[in-house]
């Protein structure tokens, strides 16, 4: 990817939470870049640091969390050097975010319209109330809310879960941001609603030409909407690549495990789902070696001693596992 094609570039980002019990390295040296009009999925289980990483982009990290290393560059500008006021202007304007639980993410005591218009007015104080309202109604119509003229004056509790998430999306896109971060936007919804929301996001992404970082633990959702995928485990990206590469030629044992634990439509119906044994590591006391080693079925002695480097399989497909460096590694190398 050429330098000026990159919308955002994250290099060796490290985020720690300074708790009374000690430093928790929630994100421990991750690097990736995202182009214009590109959708990247970030997959991982709870606590793998995927949300923390997104919060550090948009400047929403709360005490005791802090970026302790690395850089985030957005259209050539260093985000970490922004003043709080610059960051505030940036949030919601260039990058916006939608969250997991639409039930609690809208302020219960203000109307949907009020909250939508606020997103506009806090970046452009010159906009008139009528214009803001008109734009808000347009956005609600765009996200498929019928009768938007009337709906705009209703309160969040008068909206269903799916509708609220639509309103959240409308609110996020109202300033035409270049990047949308979606933090598990469908997790809290019914399966049928999930599909509708995904469909909507796909459609809007194409219409509005917005890049999306799509955080989820659901691989099915990733396959649906993403161009590229990063797989995170315990604060590190273990594998990233094009969505097809990840799905049809997973390299890292963790990715393989994730795929094996997911039901597939193309299976003959007799395959069993295989869970990944064990629990995630304690980030307060991370192991010396590979973070996944204690749960890995194919763990080697070196894995317990030393963090693995990335192996590059071309076309942006990389994976960090010692097995890739093994002599006669049969299956592992067969992808290339």
């Amino acid at each position: 990817m050429a330098e000026n094609d990159r919308l955002i570039e994250v290099k060796d980002l490290q985020v720690s939470f300074f708790t009374p019990a000690g430093e928790v390295k929630a994100v421990d040296g991750i690097s990736y870049s995202l182009g214009y009009n590109e959708v990247m999925g970030v997959v991982g289980e709870s606590g793998s640091g995927k949300s923390v990483e997104a919060y550090s982009i948009i400047g929403l990290l709360q005490n005791p969390g802090r970026v302790v290393g690395g850089s985030i560059t957005f259209e050539g500008e260093d985000l970490l050097a922004y003043t709080p006021e610059q960051m505030r202007q940036f949030r919601g304007n260039k990058v916006s975010m939608i969250f997991q639980n639409p039930m609690t993410c809208l302020n219960p005591v203000y109307t949907i319209g009020n909250q939508l218009m606020e997103a506009l007015t806090c970046h452009d104080s010159s906009i008139s109330a009528q214009d803001a309202r008109k734009r808000a109604i347009e956005m609600l119509e765009l996200v498929g809310i019928n009768n938007a003229e009337k709906r705009i004056d209703q309160y969040p509790h008068e909206f269903s879960g799916g509708m609220r998430q639509r309103a959240m999306i409308a609110m996020a896109l109202i300033c035409k941001p270049k990047l949308l971060i979606a933090d598990e936007p469908t997790t809290a919804l019914d399966v049928t609603i999930q599909a509708q929301i995904l469909e909507l996001m796909k459609k809007l992404q194409q219409e509005e030409q917005t890049s999306i970082i799509f955080i989820t633990h659901n691989l099915g959702v990733v396959a649906e909407i993403c161009d590229r995928v990063s797989v995170m485990y315990a604060g590190k990206i273990v594998e990233q690549g094009k969505v097809n590469d990840i799905f049809y030629n997973p390299l890292h044992p963790y990715t393989k495990g994730l795929l094996a634990s997911m039901p597939r439509l193309d299976s003959d119906g007799h395959e069993r789902l295989i869970p990944i044994e064990g629990t995630p590591i304690d980030l307060l006391n991370p192991p010396k070696g590979c973070n996944f080693a204690p749960r890995c079925k194919d763990c080697r002695k070196i894995c317990l001693r030393q963090k693995p480097p990335f192996a590059d399989y071309g076309d942006g497909h990389t994976s960090a596992c010692w097995l890739h460096f093994m002599e006669d590694d049969g299956e592992e190398a067969s992808g290339k």
Partner: protein, 313 residues
């Protein structure tokens, strides 16, 4: 909304009826009667009983109370101002007005000082100001009203005679200062504590994160998004505050020698002046019940999720 209020008023009337019954039972259980005194002969007492209908069976007496109250007739005083209409005593001698003025001033002070202080503390969480306010409010809710009232009296009226010892009929502004402060201090501190807690609670909610993600300014975040939500538990507490202020007025009115309803109630109990006990109890209870209704309606205004028409809150 209308049917809700109607329902609440009916419930309030029922509650008042029960309070009347309890009061009636209790005051008749107080040993002695209003006419006992050293010089009263048994015959005179008997006459007085007859005159005021106290010789009738209790159930009839109670029925008379209820019927008369419904007609707006509160009876006449039996002892303290014998023969004077209770309505006159309470409303025309300024007792009710004084107590209401005192109570409302204290309520207003508690709300207008307590809630902003709580917001300031939450906004400057962890600063020296927050620390100072936390210490002040924590100590404030451990000082009983009568202690504060007497300490204020000792300091500002006796040691440095800046303010009048006797507030009396609350005719000028200076006579309000100490009674209102003593009456409201506990609640000011409590409301400040409550507001701070609920404000911090609100600040940690998801919708605040959403607003931050939109790029809303910090000041607006607090004043618009957090404040209104954090007021909900505060408003719930205002009902008990009103009841507490009435309680406190008993102490404050005796300490500062204000001839108000609170002081009069205590005296009427001591004097077994049945009609006055009943009237003050009913009026003060009605005040508290009315306040609770106001609070519930205010609740509805702040929190659109509460629908008053559906189920009774």
């Amino acid at each position: 909304m209308f049917s809700y209020i109607l329902k609440r008023i009916l419930a309030a009337v029922a509650t008042l009826l029960i309070i009347m019954a309890v009061t009636f039972f209790l005051m008749n259980a107080i040993p002695g009667n209003p006419f006992l005194s050293e010089k009263a002969s048994p015959h005179a007492i008997e006459l007085a009983f007859k005159k005021y209908g106290l010789d009738k069976p209790l159930i009839v007496q109670f029925k008379n109370y209820v019927v008369n109250y419904l007609r707006g007739d509160l009876g006449v005083s039996l002892k303290m101002q014998e023969g004077t209409s209770v309505k006159d005593i309470i409303f025309n001698q300024g007792k009710f007005t004084r107590s209401i003025k005192l109570g409302l001033s204290a309520l207003a002070l508690a709300i207008l000082v307590g809630i902003p202080l709580g917001c300031i503390a939450a906004y400057h969480r962890g600063s020296w100001l927050d620390g100072f306010l936390r210490v002040m409010t924590t100590v404030g809710v451990a000082v009983p009203t009568f202690v504060l009232a007497t300490l204020l009296l000792a300091t500002f009226a006796v040691k440095l005679p800046l303010l009048p010892v006797k507030s009396g009929e609350l005719t000028d502004f200076r006579s309000y200062i100490m009674p209102v402060i003593s009456l409201s201090f506990y609640y000011t501190c409590y409301l400040a504590k409550l507001t701070r807690t609920s404000m911090l609670d609100a600040i940690n909610q998801d919708y605040i994160r959403t607003a931050r993600a939109k790029g809303v300014k910090t000041s607006k975040l607090v004043l618009k998004h957090a404040l209104r939500n954090s007021l909900i538990p505060v408003i719930t507490y205002l009902g008990p505050v009103m009841a507490g202020i009435i309680t406190g007025s008993f102490v404050v009115e005796s300490t500062f020698q204000i001839p108000g309803l609170g002081k009069y109630f205590v005296q009427s109990v001591m004097n077994r002046d049945y009609t006055i006990i009943m009237a003050t109890t009913v009026i003060l209870s009605a005040l508290v019940i009315f306040m609770n209704l106001v609070v519930d309606i205010a609740y509805k205004i702040v929190d659109p999720r509460i629908t008053l028409t559906s189920k009774e809150g």
